[in-house]
Amino acid sequence: MTWTRPDSNWHERPLPRGLFPRARHPLSGALVGIALSLAILATPLQARTIILTDEDCEKMAFISAEVPTLGWACYEIATATFTTSVLECAPNKAFLIRYPIDRIPAGQKIVKAELGFTTTLQGAGAQRLHLRRIVGEWGVGVCWLYRSQRPKKVEWTQAGARGVSTDRATRPSSIIRSAAAGDKVVNVTEDVELWYTGATPNQGWMLTVEDQDGYIRLNSPLWPPGRSNWKLRITYEPE
């Protein structure tokens, strides 16, 4: 069996109309193609876009106050039985993810950055997801209580990475309003720019639900429907 990426048309954009005009003569299409190719070769690329997915991320976790020492406390499928098939976002839970943006070459300007993911279920009425930059290193053994446990245990300033400006950015990068389940796209240009320029160390984001009784279910990167579903699309160009 060969491995193939699952289809996702979120990132696809249709080519502009008129790029390939209908040929009036058998040779006209070929001539247009040749002309375009020569023009492209002569014109330097102005912008480049990369798409990073959860497959690129070494650091991911789902933490919960209910199971404070678990790093993947995604979904309690039965009493005291947890699985990673979905991410159940509710108060006192958080999804942490860090994309490695070091693939962007030096000397670039971030034109646009968008984070895309899919929600599959949500509570009644409109729901809100808060996206915040994480402050400070986190790593092996991350959970509700600790930002890391190896080589030594380091606690969050406030459990659940809730320390304002010490564990997470003071204000949300975005508050995503969700009326129904489906694909979500979040403009994160400012955050990626901060990370790329080094103004702020890249420690990734945390996604939380902070409304009482709020509930949103997200695709899990550890289950096929969610694998490579978490996309960070970054367009950059030379400064």
Binding site: T2, T49, I50, T53, M60, G71, R103, L222
Partner: protein, 430 residues
């Protein structure tokens, strides 16, 4: 208009799907056998599993159903090479079960005593419809314990029969905890006529290597001191007689404990890789992922880590734990992935690392070549080795393939003492 079109087209061209970074693509170098001086071929046709004893100097192969004998044993010379004539063992099976073939799923040597533990199974009934009560439940014993100190390997004890153990499973094997005081067994069965679920069982053992009688010792009680082989052998007849009497009286032996029916082990196989970490704390192969079982935790008794796989068909994992590092290596049988999962006291942390292999992986779990910092797994006609660093993190460089043409490489084992990789082969290479 043409310039706008050109810009748009070039921007579209410039969209790149970069190769994932957390997923790695190790660069494999093929090694010819003479250059892999640590490699030893073991003539064991139709091998399903292999086990080596560093202390006893034995290697054992468990065979698939088609092979006339279920086990082949070789003595090893001081350099770790098989020596002398192979010893073929036909394991016991009730005569009324023929023509159903029986076979060995897993082998395990006691770390100190001359004992070999065998987990065997028998083909499922081919009757249509299958009988509501499988005749194999009556008298087919899955767990066999052989004494290798005898002139001819001698079956000293057999147990694990009944509808509490699955029949006709394709994978799963026994495992010891660190001091061989607990024997973990796979493929338990729940349900009456229909399989409701599977699980992992634990036999508590005495220092003589046989199941204990009575209650299990307290979890915090230190293990009993080892006994020497001579005393164990001298006491064995009385011990075995007592165990058989207990079984005849329908009393439990080994203070047998098992995981209750649960999501992590809801289908078979269960236990194609078991990594004990403490009393009733272990990581084991579950139906669709890595299961951490912590009986001592009220809040998280079971955790199932699903493997990041682009699933084209339903997949079943296989796993091995590094004996020292807090790392599990896992495969999804039939897929070309090798996973590395770090854990904190058994609970997985951060994203699994995924390595792409050149061929799909077979039924057997991976093995760890500790002294070489390699993790190996069999494939079709090849054995694949991926290097890891001091933290058990898989690396792109240093990966190797060893050709074993004409067969799926299912039987393999590693001797840490001798630094030998053993591969079971259908024919010895010239």
């Amino acid at each position: 208009m043409v310039r706008i079109a050109m810009a748009a087209f070039s921007a579209s061209l410039a969209t790149a799907f970069l190769a994932p970074a957390a997923d790695i693509a190790p660069r494999f170098t093929n090694v010819e056998p003479p250059k892999a001086e640590y490699l030893v071929h073991v003539l064991a046709p139709q091998a399903r599993c292999l086990a080596v004893s560093d202390t006893l100097g034995w290697i054992a192969a468990g065979h698939k159903a088609a092979h006339p004998a279920q086990i082949t044993l070789y003595k090893l010379d001081p350099q770790g090479k098989p020596t002398g004539a192979p010893i073929a063992i036909k394991t016991p099976v009730p005569a009324y079960l023929t023509p159903r073939n029986h076979y060995v799923l897993g082998l395990l040597f006691h770390p100190r005593l001359p004992l070999l533990y065998v987990w065997q199974d028998v083909e499922a009934s081919k009757a249509d419809p299958p009988p509501p009560e499988d005749p194999a439940w009556k008298e087919f014993d899955h767990l066999l314990i052989y004494n290798l100190a005898a002139t001819v390997p001698e079956l000293v004890f057999a147990t694990a029969r009944g509808k509490g153990f699955c029949i006709g499973v394709g994978a799963g094997g026994p495992a010891f905890d660190a001091d061989a005081s607990r024997l973990y067994v796979p493929n338990l069965r729940f349900g009456d006529k229909v399989l409701d679920g599977s699980g992992i069982g634990i036999y508590h053992l005495e220092p003589d290597g046989l199941p204990m009688l009575g209650e299990a010792p307290a979890a915090d009680k230190p293990p009993a001191s080892p006994v020497d082989a001579q005393k164990a052998a001298a006491d064995r007849p009385a011990r075995v007689a007592a165990l058989r009497a207990a079984l005849a009286a329908n009393k439990p032996i080994g203070a047998f404990w098992y995981t209750p029916i649960n999501y992590g082990f809801y289908a078979i196989p269960s236990g194609a890789g078991i990594h004990p970490l403490g009393p009733k704390l272990f990581i084991a192969q579950g139906t669709i992922g890595i299961v951490t079982w912590d009986e001592g935790s009220r809040r998280v008794r079971t955790h199932v880590l699903l493997m990041p796989t682009n699933m084209q068909a339903y997949y079943v994992t296989r796993l091995v734990g590094h004996p020292v590092l807090p790392v599990i290596f896992s495969t999804a049988a039939g897929y070309e992935f090798l996973y590395r999962v770090e854990h904190i006291d058994g609970q997985p942390t951060l994203a699994p690392q995924v390595a792409r292999l050149p061929k799909y992986t077979v039924n057997a779990p991976p093995i760890v070549l500790t002294r070489r910092k390699l993790v190996g797994v069999g494939g079709p006609g090849v054995f694949m080795l991926v290097a890891f660093d001091a933290n058990g993190k898989l690396k792109e460089e240093g990966a190797l393939t060893l050709d074993v043409p004409g067969q799926e490489v299912d039987g393999y084992a590693y001797s840490e003492k001798l630094d030998r990789l053993y591969l079971a082969v259908e024919k010895l290479p010239k």
